[in-house]
Symmetry: C2
Subunit: 109 residues, 2 copies
């Protein structure tokens, strides 16, 4: 159940900006920070969270580290979301076909 940490990771706007920057391809930390209004250590911390969530993988090349989107983390989130997708469509279809009983209120106790 790593989708929990993935959702928590993508909740933050700055972290989402980092993640979306990675969509174009592998990028070193400094380049990411240069395009954002936060310091480089902040970006490092965000990348750590994304990595722990399985959304990102890194590769050391010289003194730099290239970060890239990890398809596995994205796949896990997708799978979790799809469960809601299927159910919601079923419920919607069921409601269109015929309203159920109005559900009586429970007696006092």
């Amino acid at each position: 159940m790593a989708y929990t940490s993935a959702l928590a990771a993508l909740a933050d706007p700055t972290r989402r900006a980092v993640f979306e920057r990675l969509r174009r391809g592998p990028v070193p930390v400094g380049v990411i920070a240069a395009g954002l209004p936060v310091s480089r250590p902040a970006v490092s911390q965000h990348l750590r969270v994304l990595k722990d969530a399985g959304l990102v993988r890194d590769e050391a090349v010289g003194t730099r580290r290239l970060y890239a989107v990890d398809p596995r983390g994205v796949a896990e989130l997708r799978a979790w979301l799809d469960r809601f997708w299927d159910q919601a469509l079923d419920a919607f279809k069921a409601e269109v076909e015929g309203k159920p009983q109005p559900t009586k209120r429970k007696k006092s106790r």
Copy 2:
């Protein structure tokens, strides 16, 4: 771009529990709160956030309000996620086929 608030909404564990409870079908607020270790007002507040994010819709029936998953919010999240999915697969394929240039370091400035 309502996926931003949707991600923020699903980041909280309690709110996610509420949302997952709704996966079985429409439920009144009290029933949700009964199954969670938080107070009923807390659940009300969480439902408000989920509703503002477009993930949930509500329907008044008597003194109760039935909450249910809103497929539209889920669809929006799915669409956003899929953009990463496609890109990540492309990048992975490109990397397998042939490593790009090692990327020289920039001179001092």
